[in-house]
Symmetry: C2
DNA sequence: CAATAAGCTGCGGGTTTACGCAAGACGGCG
DNA sequence: CGCCGTCTTGCGTAAACCCGCAGCTTATTG
């Protein structure tokens, strides 16, 4: 068995290396990549079936890399190993995992033991292992209770990118008014109407901008999500 | 000599611990904190004069911690050790360093050698050591060439927080029109006027929202800067 | 000191947002 | 089938935003 490690940080990389060796005696080769681009290449060259992947890398983040890898070989098993459990990441990952694929999401703060267990479960038993904390988010986000609909999330991203209502309407194939309706839902859920100081005249926020900030502060959005969204936007713009 | 290490990640923490031991034989005690809050407390209790501090920690980030520490004892020497050289961090740090204080900014990607040198220079020789890459940013940012004025940066933050023009005017003691002037400068510098697809009717951005996103993508802003700004905003709101 | 530069401010108007109101459209469900 | 909730769309309005124009106040400089 061969395992590919894709991880930015040299310290974490060597820690992972050791953890893999310890947890998987049946693994004879470990290869390492230090960013997403290199990771994709190695995965392709080695036809890797077992990957441990960091999210949040400078060059090309884990979600992007995983997406292209899974596109080429959907049965690849990937364990995401991340510092954070931002809803943006969780949503980003579950957006790209192919049907029936085995994958995992473990936080870097997890114990050695838990990491080892996850490695065995995913790579040997083909089971999905999702960190408890992450799992919570996932449910909240997918079950719409208290969470955001996909359409709401979509608009959130669109205004975060700085599109006008009209542009959003065009992009999503809606009328102007519908876009504005969704915006209102969004403002509602994000609770952006706080009086901002005193209730009276000067206390209001710019809802549009405020919504984005609140979403960022709540980790509904993060840098990597913006980055991806921006790339998609450019693609769409080029496509016409 | 005593050294305090404030760092989230256990791996990095122990790496730092070793590095300190290796670089500073004259150091007899090393204490560790795993977040900003604990760091502040330890610094106070031990009257620490030598600190290595991570930026970007979950509980309370390095800039906040450093600020209160320096407020209590401005002659403290602090070495910031960070993953990133975002302009937002650089600006945040140089905003809080007291006159004449010795401090350093070294990236985690730096070699062991460089880290050791920095430790000795700052803690023993009381010199400032700024990573080359960071230094570049600093100059660009402070020398206004191609960089942003403080007042422009201020407005950027204000719209990022979601304030209305009027609210900004009140907060900064300006007229509405002046605020809008600054906004225009900002839009100009951020180059937000890109036609977004086709030049004609539907292709425009919402400048306000777009400016924030562009700033984020360019690392002029980042999560931690937003977090701090939001805290300050709340303070101001409470203060009236 | 005059002159040029840079920033603040009011005025005015064109555009975009936020949103109430109300009329369809679609999909269950008893 | 008729009722109901959710989603979409158009119309209309008040507010906010973007910005050109022009008069004023401070610095900076030769």
């Amino acid at each position: 068995m061969k395992v590919l490690i894709v991880e930015d940080d040299p310290l974490h990389r060597s820690y992972l290396h050791e953890a893999v060796n310890a947890a998987l005696p049946e693994c004879d080769t470990v290869i390492e990549a230090e960013n997403g681009t290199a990771g994709e290449k190695l995965a392709r060259d080695h036809k890797s079936a077992h990957i441990v992947m960091d999210l949040q890398m400078a060059n090309r983040n884990g979600i992007e890399a995983a997406r292209t890898i899974w596109k080429e070989r959907p049965e690849t098993r990937i364990l995401f190993w991340s510092n954070y459990s931002d809803e943006a990441y969780v949503r980003g990952v579950s957006r790209i995992v192919p049907d029936g694929a085995a994958y995992g999401y473990v936080l870097k703060s997890a114990s050695d033991e838990r990491l080892k267990l996850a490695l065995r479960s995913i790579f040997i038993e083909s089971q999905c292992v999702i960190d408890r904390e992450v799992r919570g988010l996932q449910q909240k986000s997918l079950g719409q209770t208290n969470g955001f609909t996909d359409s709401e999330y979509e608009i959130l991203v669109d205004i975060a990118l700085g599109l006008t209502d009209r542009a959003i309407a065009k992009r999503r194939g809606l009328s102007l008014r519908s876009v504005q309706n969704r915006l209102q839902q969004l403002y509602d859920k994000l609770d952006v109407y706080q009086t901002a100081g005193d209730d009276h005249e000067d206390g209001r926020f710019n809802l549009r901008a405020r919504a984005v900030t609140v979403a960022l502060l709540r980790k509904l959005l993060n840098y990597s999500a913006l980055e991806r969204a921006e790339a998609e936007l450019q693609e769409w713009l080029d496509g016409k």
